[in-house]
Symmetry: C2
Subunit: 364 residues, 2 copies
């Protein structure tokens, strides 16, 4: 049996999702084109929008960051200016992308345990120089949830194009894309929809997407051209990860069977609560205050005890069949545990049992 | 049962390759890191090079074109000049990439049924302005094999960095990367190694790779940074397609079990010959002369008969469980049939039987 993945992805997926990959389909064949059509339509529905209400799904090969770079580099023109709201590594990465593409940008950086301040943001927007604004929905660095609706109100008020990196949230955190005034939302196959890695997807407001024509500075990451390719004949411009897409179609069906986004949110929240309670009993301290903490990822301070060593802790859990996120926050000495993927309360309880054993074995 | 894919990819793969995807591994976990290490090492061996002799493998998420764009945009500096040898759509695509990235380039274009002329190429190289040269190994447009060794000699003689797009050839056409003076060779997971789509890979001469530092104009397609990431801790900078990589490791093992590149070449050549003989009996005319025709893809002129309609022909074969390449050459009215993937002589014979039936049914 595979180890259980308590990480931000790739995740533990259902066997039926993986079994959907036991087929080779031609990427230009009708049965595959139909699968892609179903996926693109269903993703819009998850965001409470549709083609009829003016939205489109674009699928981009590669990881989530490929999708983010596709959006940033295709959407913001040379004459534009991007406001990047940052409270973690993924916000920083967006600024890096803007920098690499020589896109004019400004960052508003706050501490990793805080959400960007709407008032400060509004002060920046009032100067009128910004054309685009981007924020990370669930900052995987800490697991913090940023209030994308409040910033959407500001985007609407100041007429800036609004981009949301919802990588670790979409599919398990309810989002009404139109109500949040989102022009471009990016997520990926191997997060809360519980598919396997291989592509990202962008849900775009069509009018905003049309403005990106001829704006990209790459071939493969050209969001507009990718959309036109898919619209013209339902085919990808370049070979798609056919197996990962079949797995994703199955994952979408299983999400619907589970009861949709709110049911999945409930399961993940259940995982979160079980973990939080158990870890508290074990003496671990949460990094985030409860009002800012999302239910996707929990961050814990390293125990202040000489016997604690993260690498040993990680390895001993690994030996027991549990993989936690093997990295620390940018600044604080914390470790992270993911609650997402095909994991249930019983799996979290098993992890807690393993942590109890390891704690005792290590003597902290 | 899945339809058989007689296309240039995605291909029919073995069930054991697909079954390797029935596992979820953490992308930062040791067992996955080991798999990636095995893949990177084995790919060098397929090209008759190794880390000891100064070569490196870089894996890039996305399709083959993502790999090609990564190389072109990371390798050729602003002060450089790229000579693009073109005899089909994939050569044209490389020129497009150079153009999008504002890389100085010049194209030498010849007919799709001809290989670029070494003498003409040498005349261009003698002017001393070119720093890089690129050619497609097997031009998927027609199936023609370009003599990459002869152009490698020229690259060596004139001191230009030599890039080979060996997408449809590597793994089934023997290549000695060092002997051909290749600095960068690009191929992908879903071609002759018979993996599933999801990534491309680049085999690079280390000294040439090191020169690419800080040269890329994107984040995700930065070949040098991707290499450094893999070298530092064996991990990808951004989420890799873990399942596709596990499938690929299995595919590499099956390639070795089959007897390596020369054995695979023999099987594909057998498929080619069976198809060529059968199609000749059925009256189809080959597009390429036999001395230029590779054994990866066969191109046939549309029959000159009013009853022939390619779309109907394609659909009727599809109904019988055979998928041929659903596209035509850029210029000539031809259709294409691939010989690669988990296909054997008996499969080609079954395809020929289906073509015989369809021909009779359509009355051409």
């Amino acid at each position: 049996m595979d180890k259980l993945l308590f990480t931000p992805g790739p995740l533990t997926t259902s066997m039926t999702v993986k079994e959907a990959m036991l087929h080779d389909l031609g990427s230009r064949d009708l049965s595959f084109i139909k699968a892609v059509r179903e996926i693109r339509k269903e993703l819009l529905a998850l965001g409470h929008v549709s083609q009829d209400t003016g939205y489109e799904t674009v699928i981009m090969q590669g990881s989530g960051t490929f999708g983010v770079e596709s959006v940033i580099s295709s959407v913001v023109p040379e004459s534009g200016k991007l406001l990047v709201l940052i409270n973690g590594a993924y916000g920083e990465r967006i600024a890096k992308i803007a920098s690499v593409h020589k896109i004019p940008y400004h960052t508003l950086v706050c501490d990793e345990d805080q959400t960007p301040d709407p008032q400060e943001t509004e002060e920046l927007l009032t100067d009128g120089s910004f054309t685009h604004m981007v924020i990370v929905h669930c900052e995987t660095t800490s697991g913090i949830f940023n209030p994308i609706d409040a910033f959407g109100e500001l985007a609407e008020k100041y007429g800036v194009t609004y981009i949301v990196d919802s990588m670790s949230a979409f599919g398990a955190v309810p989002v009404d894309i139109a109500a949040c005034h989102i022009d471009f939302l990016v997520s990926s196959s191997n997060k809360c929809i519980e598919g396997v890695p291989g592509f990202s997807f962008v849900i775009a407001q069509r009018d905003s997407l049309i403005k990106c024509k001829d704006q990209a500075d790459t071939l493969v990451l050209d969001l507009y051209a990718q959309w036109i390719g898919l619209e013209n004949d339902g085919q990808f411009r370049f070979t798609p990860p056919t197996h990962a897409l079949l797995a994703f179609r199955q994952a979408l069906r299983e999400l619907a069977e589970e009861g949709g986004v709110s049911a999945r949110a409930d399961r993940y929240r259940g995982n979160f609560n079980t973990l939080a309670e158990g870890m508290s009993v074990l003496g671990f301290k949460e990094y985030l205050s409860r009002d800012k903490q999302g239910y996707i990822i929990n961050s814990y301070h390293y125990p202040e005890h000489a016997a604690f060593d993260f690498k040993a802790f990680y390895n001993k859990l690994n030996d027991r069949g549990f993989i936690i996120y093997p990295g620390k926050l940018t600044k604080a000495n914390c470790f992270r545990v993911g609650n997402i993927g095909r994991l249930y309360t019983k799996d979290v309880q098993a992890l807690l049992q393993a942590i109890t054993e390891v704690k005792s074995e290590m003597g902290f």
